[in-house]
């Protein structure tokens, strides 16, 4: 079974981005993924709930800034997911 948290269009790319960039602001994720604020927000919540990512709320001057980081659990899960995909591809 592919990890259902990762085997989804937006989340697989989201986590992939976080693996490559280690941390990214909400806005950058939103623009790169081409999703609405609400949609991104709920995907982030889902990933945070399972400790795949960590969300840090800071301030950039006076404006709120949400920083999203990959967490150890998420990194491991993603690696396993990529391995699973690789195995799936091999047999196809």
């Amino acid at each position: 079974m592919f990890d259902p948290l990762l085997h989804q269009n937006i989340r697989s790319k989201l986590v992939s981005l976080l693996i490559s960039n280690d941390e990214l602001p909400f806005k950058a994720l939103k623009e790169t993924l081409g999703v609405t604020d609400g949609n991104l927000s709920s995907h982030l919540s889902k990933l945070e709930k399972e400790k795949y990512i960590a969300i840090e709320k800071t301030f950039e001057g006076k404006r709120p800034k949400t920083m999203v980081k990959i967490a150890p659990v998420g990194r491991k899960a993603f690696e396993a997911y990529i391995e699973a995909l690789r195995a799936f591809i091999e047999e196809n």
Copy 2:
């Protein structure tokens, strides 16, 4: 965007099985995938609706037998999906 019809746990495996075996009976799919009848039935309907597969209802003696075959659209889509996965893996 990964093809949402294929980027799903059960359906990706289902179509993969059909690519390898060309045609399979309902029962074999059900057992191999480890899903309930209802669940399989609805996934098949979804794939059939988009012409990814073809469903043939025949009789084995006096009992109904549902045969599932991969269709050209499905084969192409699956190949493209595998390519997309490959590309995704490459960059991760």
